[in-house]
Symmetry: C2
Subunit: 183 residues, 2 copies
DNA sequence: GAAGCCATGTAATTGGTTACATGATTAG
DNA sequence: CTAATCATGTAACCAATTACATGGCTTC
């Protein structure tokens, strides 16, 4: 119930959320992120472990030592307070920043400085990049389906969104390619 | 011709690219970014002015003092070396990181922890956010069209992409809403 | 017995933002 | 005359990443 000295940040809620999907180690959280939300949120070990510590001090998670053999191991699970805090954050009506940093689009924006041929090459690179991304998203689909066994399919929903917007990029690339080669 | 002591970063190429669209002040670069690429790349004054200085030392841009009244003013323009460096960067075959950070999708990912009603509210918020983004993109369309007068329409292309992928998100939202309210 | 994975953590650095400081000009 | 916009810069701070350090267990 104790509140954090500093207000909780988004990365804190990400680790809280990952633990809400099932108890696990810091390492497991990292792996879960890599097979789920990594396409719209990343987090590094150097954030996870300190965050876990803060969350425990705040009573949001509880840990127990569960060494496997001689290997140090700490398993975290959600507390009632943690569940409540996560819920409150999820329903919080607050602007949700959508931040994109894409050098591909930046280059494309300046592509009028290129010859038609070079510009077409660049466009192709952007298109293929999205194709590769879709392939990577399809590859993690099984993991997403597994995480939401029975109790909902929001992990699959976010996966669909990732696929949908890369498909949208591909379609615009193809349309533009047709338009420019036509004349 | 002198090369930068440190290798050029993406923000450096962004200011170089903005100058390639026409000479201007640091302040003008900031404004151009705000009415063009800000949806997939941001840059702050604290980056622009030092970057401009570095670019000039490297011979990529040249500045002349052009005070307007008693107001200090420095106008930068592209040099031949700058044009070459920009071109080389644009055709560079190198991975182009696409980085998205979206707390909206993060929340949606964890939305199985919510009641169906709460989850629907969250989904609506995500949808409306993309609708607002499309409106903002349509608002800067005139500025984008102006920038690429005659010599190409890549600025409009990147604008189309922004619109397309927010449309894709909206479509997935609507489809999911239908699916979940149906049963 | 080597490579790779499980696991936990810290230190140093980076890349970037916010806030500040300053001041002239123009539009209402 | 006041607010907004044009314009240039710096200092302090912060979030986050990379790299490092350590070590046991598992699989080939």
């Amino acid at each position: 119930m104790t509140s954090l000295p500093a207000p909780m940040t988004t990365p804190d809620f990400v680790v809280l959320g990952m633990i809400s999907l099932g108890a696990g180690t810091g390492y497991a959280i990292k792996k879960r992120v890599a097979t789920s939300i990594r396409f719209f949120w990343t987090i590094s070990e150097a954030q996870i472990y300190p965050s876990l510590e803060r969350l425990e001090r705040a009573g949001m998670v509880a840990s127990r030592l569960a060494p496997s053999g001689g290997r140090r191991r700490r398993v975290f699970e959600l507390t009632a307070a943690g569940r409540g805090a996560l819920h409150d954050w999820l329903v919080l009506s607050e602007p949700m920043p959508f931040e994109l940093r894409d050098v591909g689009l930046v280059r494309l924006f300046f592509a009028d400085a290129l010859s038609p041929d070079e510009a077409r090459t660049l466009l192709g690179a952007v298109r293929r990049r999205s194709e590769a991304r879709i392939a990577a998203l399809l590859a993690i689909r099984p993991a997403a389906a597994e995480v939401s066994e029975g109790k909902g399919d929001h992990p699959l929903l976010t996966l669909r969104m990732g696929i949908a917007f890369h498909r949208a990029i591909i379609e615009v690339c193809e349309a533009f390619e047709r338009e420019t080669t036509l004349n």
